[in-house]
């Protein structure tokens, strides 16, 4: 399957294939960000990032359960459950990223009482010395739940091995992101995005091979430079925009030089250290090495400062705030992002999307106008 097919496949064929190859193997779906995939993997299971249903599923039941003003990914995740699309999964994992996602976890529990469903509380106070100990105990609780469900112990060795595999995967993602920022005309986001996102649905080794393969071909490629401006995309960390929308951004004259798409598989900014205590290392990495987003809280360093650093590091000319409809955390951050960007004279544009949108003409016009205003500035 090509990456574009993998990311829109609601049959989860890659997950089914893995289960066919691993007798008794279990798959755990996680709501898309900050999941300790290493733990799931170390327990011998396949972690799968759930990214909603895109435009592949008409919502028949979930609207009535979640009402108005709730984002699409929450509804499509429930809808997938209610329409049996989540059959390949043995368990689901949610975390404290936002109010809607949290309530979704417990609604899922009621509707799927036989499924293993857990909720991780990720600390919101990393400045406290006690946060690391707390998160270790939280990961241990998850670990025990997974072990009981799967009948298999997680050893330090298996956890270290998983950390090595994911470190390698994330390191390659980072290299590809760097390469794209260096030559966005050679590695386009419409290629990189499905490639990275496919990692949500593949065993990590397979995905690492795909990343490596792409990285190795870059040297022999040539691309045609276009009249485009260097853009950072911010705000699409959870619900994902349609691939067609990303293509339109590029066609309209954007070199996307950084983004927060699919943070799930690439949420550590550097390797998780291997220092003999893997759980501590994972907990410490969430608190001190994780990428910022609107749903991770660290008042030691405001997100708007982090965004600005990203803009400077990538030598971006502008920021597009690409926010999922009804995503309250992103909309809150918009206020402080906007204020900071204006203070620093960084042009910005706010665009709203929904995973299931399929007409983009209005957005195209907005982006084209924005790009033109900068190109001819």
């Amino acid at each position: 399957m090509i990456n574009e097919d993998i990311i829109s496949d609601l049959n989860f064929s890659t997950v089914r294939a893995w289960k066919d190859q691993h007798s008794g193997g279990k798959a755990i779906g996680y709501f898309p960000v900050y999941a300790p995939v290493e733990l799931i993997r170390a327990c011998g299971m396949l972690p799968v990032g759930l990214n909603g249903a895109g435009d592949q599923l008409d919502i028949q039941y979930a609207d009535a359960r979640f009402g108005s003003f709730i984002c699409s990914i929450v509804k499509t995740t429930l809808e997938m459950g209610l329409t049996d699309h989540l059959a390949p999964f043995d368990g689901l994992l949610f975390s404290s990223i936002c109010d809607s996602a949290r309530n979704l976890c417990f609604v899922m529990k009621r509707n799927f009482p036989d499924m293993y469903i857990d909720f991780l509380h990720l600390p919101h106070n990393p400045s406290s010395a006690s946060s690391t100990e707390f998160l270790i105990s939280e990961y241990r609780r998850l670990q025990q739940g997974l072990e009981a469900m799967n009948g298999r112990r997680v050893t330090d060795d298996s956890l270290n091995e998983a950390i090595i595999l994911y470190n390698e995967n994330r390191s390659l993602s980072r290299m590809l992101y760097d390469e794209r920022a260096r030559q966005p005309h050679v590695l386009r986001t419409s290629e990189l995005y499905p490639l990275v996102r496919a990692g949500n649905f593949l065993p990590v080794e397979e995905h690492t091979a795909l990343l490596r393969q792409t990285l190795e071909t870059l040297g022999s490629r040539s691309g045609k430079q276009r009249d485009s401006i260097r853009i950072v995309i911010e705000g699409s960390f959870c619900e994902q925009p349609p691939l067609d929308l990303i293509k339109i951004l590029e066609e309209a004259g954007c070199y996307i030089v950084d983004d927060d798409f699919v943070l799930g598989p690439r949420w550590f900014l550097e390797d998780v250290p291997l220092n003999g205590d893997p759980l501590r290392s994972l907990a410490d990495s969430y608190l001190n090495r994780a990428v910022y987003s609107s749903v991770r809280h660290d008042f030691r360093k405001p997100r708007h400062k982090a965004l600005l650093e990203k803009v400077h590091r990538r030598q971006a000319q502008a920021v597009i705030l690409l926010i999922a409809k009804f995503c309250e955390p992103a909309y809150f951050d918009y206020v402080l992002f906007k204020q900071e960007l204006e203070k620093e004279n960084v042009p910005h544009l706010l665009l709203e999307f929904e995973e299931k949108m399929f007409t983009f003409e209005r957005l195209r016009t907005e982006v084209e106008t924005f790009v033109e205003s900068l190109l001819f500035d």
């Binding site: 359960r65 949290r102 009621r110 105990s137 809280h297």
Partner: protein
Amino acid sequence: MKWYETLNEAAETQEPPTVSMMISGNCVELLEGFGAVPIYPEVNALQLAIRHQSLDPILFAEELGYAADNCAYVKADIGAYLKGITPTGGKLPKPTLVLCNFVGCNTYLKWFEHVAEFTGAPLYTLDVPFMRTADPSVADIKYVVSQLQELVKLLEGLTGRKFDYDRFKEAVRYSARTEEVWSNIKHLARSSPSPFDAYFDAITLMGPLYVYRGKPEGVEFFELALAELEEKVERHEGVNDQEKFRVVIEGPPPYPHFRTFRDMFAKWQACAVASTYSTVGGLWEFGARHDPEKPFESVALHMLAHNVTNRNYLQRYDQIKRYVEEWGADGVIIHFVKSCRLFSAGQGDMRDYFTKVLGVPTLYIESDLEDPRYFSEAQLKNRIDAYFEALEHHKMTASPSD
């Protein structure tokens, strides 16, 4: 209210120290150990709404970039701060500390971040693990206690005052007493007729409950209220002329249209005998109390387990189910508010549970707690009328053995 006068004084003289906090699972007792006074941005916001002053600050905040879908409490509070509007016309101080005592509501994390950004006051986020298991674990309690102790150190530095442990313990003792009395009041609503409305009246008692809980004034106030209500029970005096319907209400009220909304129920002689919203600051009617012998642990437990916002959604279903069964309610009203996803995300599933699994007549209506624009009076009235008409029919046709 004397509390706003104190805040006005603090704005003029920087004394006493003030701490911005959220109502839910607040640790007001700890502030007593510093003689510090709470500022509740939520109370500021709802006071503006109930006084029909919330729209201007909301519009101002939207001009700054807040979205239509952001919590209108936040917009009203931030807008009012930046425009220099206060609910009483007095002054509000720059807080000594912005304390995000996060319990459940992720929006608070953003709100307090923004308050700190706009006021320039220091921020501390006290992280309270969400109730993802039936009871808090030892690790959960230890984590919260450690942070409470860090907070004490931080406040000592910021206020220049030494933490008065005895005063803290004393406040915890008063809180336990207030909670006992408040719980007794809540239980009076099990009588028929109920002597008070456990939604609309309970809401108006929330101010004194959260500001004065840990003080002798709080105990005194609620003891007086209890005595009055006990007399009403003896006289069989209810809220309306007759008590035709007993309901449980879930969700915050539409503050900008509080009276109009109340009248929609009064018209049907319907009385709320219990409500989840009145347990935002503390859920005491099932027996939980602060414990002066373990002040830090009991404050931690209060924040973790004994307030509706930090309890998970299914625990809320159970809470409402207990109300229906033990308080003898005829039905459940679910009020979806656009602003608050903590309360509202998934309330359709809640309705499904109560109607289909438990067979409890349930009404689902929508408006907002702060933004006056999201209130469709005619539509709400029609829905409420239709619900009570059906409930009346249901009660008439149900045999006593049902």
